[in-house]
Symmetry: C2
Subunit: 452 residues, 2 copies
């Protein structure tokens, strides 16, 4: 059995390791144009921040470890063509500058995603970075000592995580978001709360700009010095970090006739099979099913990549495993603020045609007399007709992320808000209030739904 895996960051690395455990005698080859495999891209902001000093901490498993385990890792080897009819891939060895054909019995596409680079004039200075690869991490980290002011383009997850990282390095940071709010994945009312909180703890350390697109970089041989926005404002920057989102790497699949889904990522079934036989896809290059709406979504997250890589490997090895889909759960931190969400937002639920009931509460995360009690705001969303929970968002200095996991599990179980309100959540003063904020929100929500 010969398994070829294209890409080796999260899904690819996981698939390789799992396949080797299932079929120790299989020949498993990872091809990647990258100089690293098996790393925690999600950890880059925390490396930049200074939580640890050695970038190698981000490496989950080195090429040597893979090789010692009987998995062949080919760095700087770019797959340039998939030929399903002959079950081959064309590989270009970047260093040797030669190409060769490799045969496979099963092919796993784990090509990941790439940063979106917005159309900005003079987009080629050496101090403009994305946040995706180990080399990005190393390059940003190297630049920090010379950096007093930075601009981040984009206010999504990675943007606000990098804001934290730079601010903690005492770099005055201007975050510029093209839309009207940062964290646009949230409902607008929650994004506003995030902005208000960040403003309240700002203390001159950073600037949040919304409703402006960056149009031009100006600089010299040392790099960018200023950033100009659509309304003519100019911001100084010794470094620019582009966090304007990512797009799935699908060209290789498209060229091979593999079907994409409506999200633009590779379409797969529950067994991670693509439209071509013996070819699987997993990780950031493929789309998922949203379990509540049962619609295709694209959720390029490390947690999904790991599960999908595992699933693809089991099936590629002749076993049976299904990845059912995602609940669109996510969490992030910016300075002392945690932001988490799961399921459908109010906005998305309305777009999908639901009649939506909403409850929002702001409460202590634990009993008020505990010294580390802090506020959290929880927003719950339900189907007004059936009472079925559709999603939720939480933000605050207090403990909100695991409360979203509690809600995620309710979504998984298809619970109504009435059923959820019966939940017996743990209580002790250091951990919760006697009636957990989630249950407070649920009680309010019950009054908003038709079926009681």
């Amino acid at each position: 059995m010969k398994i070829v895996i294209i890409g080796g960051v999260a899904a690819g690395a996981k698939a390789a390791a799992k396949a080797k455990r299932i079929l120790p005698d299989a020949e498993i080859d990872i091809y990647t144009e990258d100089t690293h495999v098996s790393y925690s891209a999600c950890g880059i902001p925390y490396y930049v921040e200074g939580n640890f000093d050695d970038y190698r901490t981000l490496l989950v498993r080195s090429p040597e470890e893979f090789r010692a385990g009987g998995i062949n890792v080919h760095l700087l080897h770019k797959v340039t063509k998939i030929i399903p009819v002959s079950k081959q891939v064309l590989v270009h060895d970047i260093e040797a500058n030669i190409s060769f054909l490799v045969e496979y019995d099963k092919l796993i596409i784990a090509t990941g995603a790439s940063p979106i680079i917005p159309p900005i004039k003079n987009n080629c200075f050496k101090n403009i970075f994305s946040v995706r690869t180990i080399n990005d991490a190393i390059n940003i980290k190297k630049r920090l000592p010379d950096c007093k002011r930075a601009v981040i383009i984009g206010g999504g997850y990675i943007g606000i995580e990098m804001l934290e990282a730079l601010v903690r390095n005492n770099i005055h940071t201007t975050l510029i978001e093209r839309g009207s709010h940062i964290m646009p994945v949230l409902d607008e009312d929650m994004s506003v709360l995030v902005e208000e909180h960040l403003d309240s703890i700002n203390a001159g350390r950073f600037t949040l700009i919304t409703d402006q697109a960056v149009t031009e970089f100006c600089g010299d041989e040392d790099g960018v010095h200023t950033v100009e926005t659509s309304n003519g404002d100019v911001y100084e920057a010794d470094m620019v970090i582009i966090c304007a989102g990512v797009k799935p790497n699908v060209q290789l699949a498209v060229d091979a006739g593999i079907k994409l889904g409506i999200t633009g990522a590779i379409k797969v079934n529950k067994q991670m099979e693509t439209s071509e036989s013996d070819i699987y896809a997993c990780g950031d290059c493929c789309e998922e099913t949203q379990l509540i709406s049962q619609t295709p979504v694209w959720m390029p997250l490390g947690s999904n990549a790991n599960k999908e890589g595992r699933c693809a490997a089991i099936n590629a090895c002749g076993g049976f495993n299904e990845f059912h889909g995602v609940l669109s759960s996510a969490v992030t931190r910016c300075l002392n603020l945690t932001i988490a969400m799961t399921g459908l937002t109010e906005r998305v639920a309305e777009k999908l045609g639901y009649s939506v009931a909403v409850a929002k509460v702001t409460k202590h995360d634990k009993v008020g007399y505990m010294p580390d009690a802090n506020d959290i705001t929880i927003k719950l969303i339900a189907d007004k007709k059936t009472g079925k929970l559709l999603g939720g968002q939480a933000m605050g200095v207090g403990d909100s992320d695991k409360r979203i996991n509690t809600l995620t599990t309710a979504l998984l179980g298809g619970l109504t808000v009435d059923e959820f309100a019966r939940n017996d959540l743990t209580y002790a003063p250091p951990f919760s209030t006697t009636i957990d904020p989630l249950l407070d929100a649920a009680q309010i929500l019950i009054a908003q739904v038709d079926s009681k």
Copy 2:
């Protein structure tokens, strides 16, 4: 409408407040032999520990606030008899030393629970305390400056919370547990882990003794000085805290012919109605239904008391509300260790006749490179035949309590381990590992159950 409530700590206070909101014109009277109402008994260890200095912080609502809201609070008024046939209670005014009859339309019994005082010789010294009332809290706190060594009797929730409180006051504390392990509510393997962890951080600050009962106190007019145990060992103590469990206060109900359940607490239906019409019970004096086993249990916790008080009030006021039962969820902290549980333990599940499948993992609570990553141990329990989740326990320095809430919600939804393993839990390095420890445990558990 005249509503009489006996007891006003958690359930009684909640019932009064809720009833007044529903029926603003109702006459609502709380009678209690206590000198305080509406307080957080669960917060006493944190007051003793020194998280706040004023015991009044523990008071949720003062008698004056109740009275301003139109609720009559009668402190030091002990109800000595319930007369269901004439819908009256006999009240003894302790200060005035007179008794009088009070009529009710609806009666809510919220008499709570009392500490169990084990049969120990010379059990009357003034420096022997329970942990139940505001006066207990005040008396323990006053004694702290004169206390160098203390003995805690009982290693359950309150025992280990008081251990933390005393150790943080630099009092060398000996905790003596009669059974073979502290936290006997857990499965033995988890209790052992708790003991091992506490031993590892002990640093001479405390001593854990198991398999010994305290038999005798010795002292003089200043109070206890030594504590003797069943095997003849003697421990010095400037203070003794008895945390040997609680028993429901049911005598008043029994005398009135109100039925108890098999747990010894008052039997109620989902509307919190007792066996006598127009008489409700709620809080620590009544039993609950365990939602998984559908058997009666007694879970005297503040969270249950609040929900039951609310439910009793709604029904007493002519509305309709049901309290379905508990999942036996609980959490506690001892020094840097969090311990949480929900559902059935392996031991209880076996006793109930389940064929039990178990998985236990010890993992980081977040990605290992984050500076505050810590281990947690999670034990999951499922029905081997159906794969249905039955319960779980967690312990560790890491973030484990909210993970138990995630599991609680799975129990509420009646999920199998296979369904639970599909959960889309939030992931980012400061909060979790890419595959959450809960899902790691679930994957292991899947292999243990028959139905896959």
